[in-house]
Subunit: 208 residues, 2 copies
């Protein structure tokens, strides 16, 4: 496979795939998307992905979008990080949880707290989103209190999905010290051979 | 299969599964969850689903949670509404879109607009969530402008996921007249043999 990933450093959703590509030892290159200049809202990008979102994975003429679909497709084709057959529904369950409850809130909280002009930040909205994020983090932390990985006995794409916003340095309402299960699990993922931080895998788009 | 679905009428996420069960002609019964009395936050429910969410599907001793996992599992086992093999990634793509961008916002907007005491509703928060909902509805409407169904040539579980909050009567920032593609598609789904409204499939929990 020779793969191109449309992505940018601040996109945790892109990082789910970039991290999987890196840990799977695949031949890939990032294609920088100038998110803060509005590239994902433009007609060229919309023609690539009607949903207007990163990541997008290109392989020859094949275009795949939605991080969860890309993750499952790569896992299937490489046989890596898909979990044992009996664990695959559990892998999907935590990918859906992440998309719905965790990254959706983490990405929004981080965006509103850091990438919106200070005079346009609404504390009530930020507090609301952070409250929903906290609820999701508690569920994740409770699950990780007695387990090393989210599904089955080893790392899977469910781990790469759920961790994706949790390595970023910008403040958004997540303090590792408050979630010991998550804290140890993030160290466990970061110790996998080939792990790299999102900002080391993808170019940053924020110039603010 | 003899199936029990933990659900309540106001839960669009439960409706995704209830509608699939009804349209698939399966033998099932709803088990009412008293959401507004806090049942999903209690220890008994958490023991069933650590994520604290409806729906939960029970079949004998087998417990399945997360609507998308249940939908895919039922589709696989019945062979109904899963889409043609070449369309299944597209089915999953729209299920993930729904979980992340559409139902997540629609459910929250509807909850905040209707099921929170009037003196605790924050107009800024509601406007923010409705803004995100509008963006998702526009993506869905554009996709449906030239298609009858979200993926492939017939109805799939992707349609049942994305439509799930859009039949409710309570106001939450969705006006069918503003989205002609969605409007026709909702009529199309409602014309499927066996279709029923969420409040006709599941007992309502709201007593306000």
């Amino acid at each position: 496979m020779s793969l191109t990933l449309y992505c940018f450093g601040e996109s945790g959703h892109s990082y789910k795939v970039a991290l999987q590509l890196a840990l799977s030892g695949l031949d890939w290159e990032p294609r920088f998307v100038d998110f803060f200049a509005g590239e994902t809202r433009g007609p060229e990008f919309r023609a690539l992905n009607v949903m207007g979102e990163c990541p997008v994975l290109i392989e020859g003429g094949r275009v795949t979008t939605q991080s969860g679909v890309i993750q499952l497709d790569l896992a299937r084709r490489t046989g890596l990080f898909q979990g044992a057959p009996e664990d695959r529904d559990e892998v999907l369950r935590w990918i859906l949880f992440d998309n719905h409850k965790l990254s959706a809130q983490a990405g929004t909280a981080r965006f509103l707290s850091n990438f919106v002009p200070a005079d346009k930040r609404d504390p009530a909205v930020i507090a609301f989103v952070r409250g929903r994020l906290t609820a999701a983090l508690k569920v994740l932390d409770a699950h990780l209190a007695t387990r090393d990985w989210l599904a089955g006995d080893g790392p899977t794409i469910a781990d790469f999905a759920n961790c994706s916003y949790l390595y970023y340095p910008e403040p958004f309402g997540f303090d590792r010290a408050a979630y010991p299960g998550i804290d140890r699990w993030l160290d466990r993922i970061a110790a996998l051979p080939g792990w790299r931080h999102p900002y080391d895998l993808m170019q940053r788009a924020w110039r603010g």
